[in-house]
């Protein structure tokens, strides 16, 4: 095996292990899927009867936002499992083996991706049940799901970095909750952000969650001409801006996570 195939082969072995782990602990899979389901139902039926978006049904507006939220929630679950691994001796075992050191994080992020794919399928079915529809050509819808999965993969590297920096499950959970709530709610995921007061509106418009949500809405055709369009560049060019965000996250956090992994396991 050479320097190029080894990280991939070892990454695949680790991804298989993580996938088995997730399958054996339904609580992990469950919390990544039930949380967004509860959100679909709550927002669609409780807030949906109060919140109105101009020119379209709130539920159609909502579902792309729920897709992005599901990515954030499942990232928290996998970050948590990474901190649990760190506390046990399993990384010592990995490091004493002739495997590629990068294999562990490659495996971790690939298994995250598989879990996100599963969660996205459940969300989409749930969405179709409550009245969400795709109004664009099939290839655009496929691009929409592809973009969400790309974002999910990039976000895993960010989560891995945070998990490796904090190292304990407790502190990871605290930080993850504190970070993900404003990220989720100061955005256009659940609300029309143009209705927010100016400071919050500016934050929401530049929030990457808004960018990805907007791109998904465009690719699935869940937009309305009756809605005010934001002037902010990321929302004007949501697909391009999403790809840029994804690229930036990968470029920054792949090397950072790799460095932290080496530091975390040799201490």
């Amino acid at each position: 095996m050479n320097a190029l195939t080894m990280p991939i082969a070892d990454g695949w072995t680790i991804a298989r292990r993580n996938t088995l782990k997730i399958r054996r602990s339904p609580d992990l899979l469950g919390s990544a899927i039930t949380f967004p389901i509860v959100f679909v139902l709550m927002f669609a039926y409780v807030f949906g009867s109060v919140i109105h978006v101009p020119g379209m049904s709130y539920r159609e507006f909502l579902i792309p936002g729920i897709f992005v939220q599901a990515v954030l929630v499942s990232a928290q679950v996998t970050g948590y499992t990474l901190t649990l691994d760190l506390q046990k001796g399993i990384f010592d075992r990995f490091r004493s083996l002739p495997m590629a050191p990068s294999g562990v994080l490659i495996g971790q992020t690939v298994s995250d991706l598989l879990m996100n794919l599963a969660s996205l399928v459940v969300m989409a079915v749930m969405g179709l049940i409550v009245g969400w529809r795709v109004h664009t050509a099939p290839h655009e819808a496929v691009l929409g799901f592809g973009l969400l999965l790309l974002f999910a993969y990039a976000f895993s590297w960010f989560t891995a970095t945070v998990a490796l920096a904090l190292r304990t499950p407790e502190s990871f959970n605290n930080i993850a909750t504190t970070l993900s709530f404003p990220l989720m709610f100061v955005s256009n995921a659940f609300l029309d952000s143009s209705e927010l007061p100016t400071p919050l509106r500016v934050v929401a418009e530049w929030n990457p969650v808004s960018t990805i949500t907007q791109a998904a809405r465009e690719l699935f055709g869940n937009t309305s001409t009756a809605m005010k369009t934001a002037d902010a560049w990321p929302l004007q060019h949501a697909v391009t801006a999403s790809l840029l965000w994804i690229a930036v996250i990968l470029v920054v956090f792949i090397p950072l996570a790799t460095r932290l992994y080496k530091k975390a396991v040799s201490a």
């Binding site: 088995l20 001796g89 399993i90 010592d92 075992r93 083996l97 396991v265």
Partner: protein, 324 residues
Amino acid sequence: MSDAITAEGLVKRYGEVTALDGLSLSVPQGTVLALLGPNGAGKTTTVRVLTTLLRPDGGRATVAGCDVVGDARRLRSSIGLSGQYAAVDEHLTGAENLEMIGRLYHLGARRSKARARELLERFDLTDAADRPVKGYSGGMRRRVDLAGALAADPPVLFLDEPTTGLDPRARAALWDTISELVAAGSTLLLTTQYMEEADHLADQIMVVDHGRAIARGTADELKDQVGGNRVELTVTDAAELETARQILARFAVGAVQTGPESLQVTAPVADGPESLRQVLGRLADAGVRVRDAGLRRPTLDDVYLTLTGHQASGTDPQAREAIR
């Protein structure tokens, strides 16, 4: 015979704390060396340096001809490590754990699977093979972990406190397994806090203290240095402790320890049962009432006390003062 493991002047510091202070060792091929010492002596740090998990701050070491720093990747193909905390995945079955390790040794998918079954059979885990490790007992987990270290049949093995925390039966069973491995020709470095374990498994024992080797030899050689059996007496009345000490001192071949709190007097003696009989006779003549009396083999504490002048378990000033 060439050395499978060599280390020269290893140094490892953590801030102010010096974990390894110029430790050197060598393990000839096909032999077993036990590092004996209490927590914090530097045993685990030594294993971590030799298995490339830690970079030493000074000194050099080779395992199976590979340098621990310069040739780490190749070195890892030649070693198996089983740690102090069983490094197995709870959610995976025994078979899945071993297959994963085989794949990470790059044995290939089919060979990894076959090897996992082979090892499970050898370690008497066939019945539990397809159950998640979560439901295994402590002894079974250790066996899976040990089996993992053997996945690629490596020529050099490292076992870090393989039986710590196991009940006596599981410990004895694991000793048998390790003895078989060694008989098959592996080179083994193991760490332990138990004199008895080192005695049972190792060709050579190295006593480690404050990151340095303070004695090395076979179990018998060390025991000669430390003294053989101990007579241990417990008196009923504190006032008679001094008399008991004086009587025992006549038979002692080393330092007599007294414990004013526990009312105990202990000393190494040359001829175990005979010495005990005579000590008891003298005590009876002197009218000293004895609550308990017996012979015991030297413990790690005794080895430490003799070789370093301090006790293995912590630094109890009273215990130190009591050495006369």
